[in-house]
């Protein structure tokens, strides 16, 4: 069987064999990784190593895992068990936590996400993920701030709520504004327009306004943690009600520096029934938008049923961290072989 031309990956026009990053950047990247490991080492974290291939996968609206067939018979390589390349090491690490691991674990590994490529995206990327049992929302954010100060050499890390950031740069309350109000704000812009025929929901409007009008202001001078996301964007984070006005927010936070999103953290959801419900609803929305549904049962759900200890978990894009640390404007400047050279 021969591959048709369309099946061949797109190659870099020059088809050069060398790396896209200069050597001094690759050296800086290696030094940053060594400092990152020292940071966790000094805080008593155990480095763990879990598989990239998994029978389970996360059911997220906008994460599309890559499928792998594990064949038994090399003559029929398309027949076998379906595995997924992990979109993050979250499932395996939570299984370790529920199975009595030491209270603080971290991992540096590869993760894979389909249909993501650009100056800040590569389908295969390096992720750093850590969990610490006993952390609450506050101490989880503080650990991330400490890591940013330590690795980026900045004096401080600021914090701003998702609501405040929207009030500052869009002038609307993201938790209360209607879809019409969000759309009207975007329509005022004479220079950029959201185009295309696809109808979008409230979260997608928020996402557009965040990308277009808020993100570039985040972490301008010093890194900034954006926290208290809308409850509808909780993913695997807990949800709580704000004391002032009972608005439901997700205990989820993201680290930004110079407008670039570097890390995402959760005060982890512990209740398996809530996750089951989110999985079901996500799959429904995926199918409505023409995407395949993903398996809802997983051994991480089993782990949650057996009892995941209260903890905070954070995932950090290492390629982006290296990029901002050395003043580059694309992760291609800190990757040896991005996907078009892979």
């Amino acid at each position: 069987m021969t591959d048709s031309a369309a099946d061949q990956p797109q190659r870099d026009a020059g088809n050069r064999f060398g790396p896209s990053a200069p050597w001094d950047r690759l050296r800086e990247r290696a030094q940053l990784l060594a400092r990152l490991r020292a940071f966790f080492e000094a805080r008593g974290f155990l480095e763990v190593d879990t598989p990239l291939l998994s029978a389970d996968t996360v059911v997220d609206l906008h994460l599309d895992p890559l499928k792998v067939v594990l064949f038994e018979d090399p003559c029929t390589p398309e027949q076998g068990s379906r595995y997924w390349l992990q979109t993050s090491p979250e499932f395996c690490m939570k299984r370790l936590l529920a199975a009595g691991s030491p209270p603080a674990i971290y991992q540096v590994c590869k993760a894979f996400r389909g249909a993501e490529r650009g100056p800040l995206h590569n389908p295969e990327f390096t992720i750093v993920e850590w969990y610490r049992i006993g952390d609450d929302y506050e101490s989880g954010m503080e650990l991330l701030a400490e890591l940013a100060r330590n690795l980026l050499g900045v004096p401080q890390v600021e914090r701003r709520s998702y609501r405040q950031a929207f009030l500052d740069h869009v002038g609307l309350d993201p938790h209360q504004a209607t879809v019409e109000e969000l759309a009207a704000f975007a329509a005022q812009d004479q220079t950029v327009q959201l185009a295309g025929a696809t109808v979008i929901d409230r979260d997608q409007w928020l996402n557009y306004l965040l990308a277009q009008y808020v993100e570039s202001h985040l972490g301008r001078d010093v890194p900034e943690i954006l926290y208290d996301f809308p409850a509808s964007q909780a993913a695997l984070a807990r949800v709580r009600s704000l004391t002032d006005d009972a608005v439901r927010v997700a205990e989820r936070f993201e680290l930004y520096y110079r407008g670039i999103e570097l890390a995402n953290g959760y005060h982890e959801l512990l209740d398996p029934s809530v996750l089951e419900e989110r999985n079901r609803s996500n799959n429904q929305i995926r199918e409505n938008s023409g995407k395949p549904a993903l398996p809802e049962c997983s051994r991480m759900l089993d782990a949650m049923r057996s009892g995941l200890p209260p903890c905070v978990g954070v995932a950090l894009g290492f390629d982006r961290l290296a990029m901002v640390a050395c003043g580059a404007s694309s992760i291609h400047e800190v990757l040896a072989f991005p996907i078009d050279r892979a």
Binding site: H62, P119, H121, V192, A195, Q204, L206, A211, E215, N264
Partner: protein
């Protein structure tokens, strides 16, 4: 006509928006947080040269624009229009002075230009990057003065004007860079 999905979006794509052809000159993939993918595009109108910033979402599509580049020979100028002939098909095209823009300064009968066709109709033309043209008129040259930093106004056989060194004479053939409109060298005196 075919359609492009957002996953096909890339720099250099020729698309049709509101019945006009555009070139995708920039394409940036963004995907904030746990949100959906967005495709930030800068699009250049191939007729008017204006640009447009548009953001598309996964699932959106754009129609392809039937745009092709052909070699066309300049035949002659009519009152207000310039007539070209497709080198391959011998089809003739009439371009307005507006479409030809500054290009008239560098083309004479027989000059082969690059022409952009949209749905088979010409929209823009570009003269070759370098052309050789005869000097129609200039003040007499100073013999022996080969300095190139002092210049004078030269009228070319096409009617276009350039600045060239003092030693240039009527009848000389000059090489011109059409992208900058500057004299490059004297090819033949």
């Amino acid at each position: 006509m075919s359609t492009y999905k957002t996953s096909d979006f890339r720099k250099g794509l020729k698309v049709q928006i509101d019945g006009e052809p555009y070139l995708m000159v920039e394409m940036n993939f963004v995907k904030p947080g746990k949100g959906n993918a967005l495709y930030k595009c800068r699009l250049k109108n191939l007729i008017r040269g204006t640009t447009l910033d548009r953001v598309y979402k996964g699932g959106d599509t754009l129609d392809s624009a039937d745009v092709e580049e052909v070699d066309a020979q300049f035949l002659y100028k009519q009152v207000d229009t310039f007539v070209f002939m497709n080198q391959e098909t011998y089809d003739q095209y009439e371009l307005s002075a507006e479409q030809v823009d500054d290009g008239w300064k560098w083309i004479k009968e027989g000059t082969v230009c690059k022409m952009l066709l949209y749905n088979g109709n010409p929209i823009t033309m570009e003269p070759p990057p370098h052309v050789n043209l005869k000097v129609e008129y200039c003040e007499p040259g100073a013999r022996g003065d080969t300095a190139t930093n002092v210049t004078k106004q030269i009228k070319l056989e096409t009617g276009g004007e350039v600045l060239a060194p003092l030693f240039i004479n009527i009848g000389d053939i000059l090489r011109i860079d059409t992208r900058t409109g500057e004299y490059v060298e004297r090819v033949r005196s």
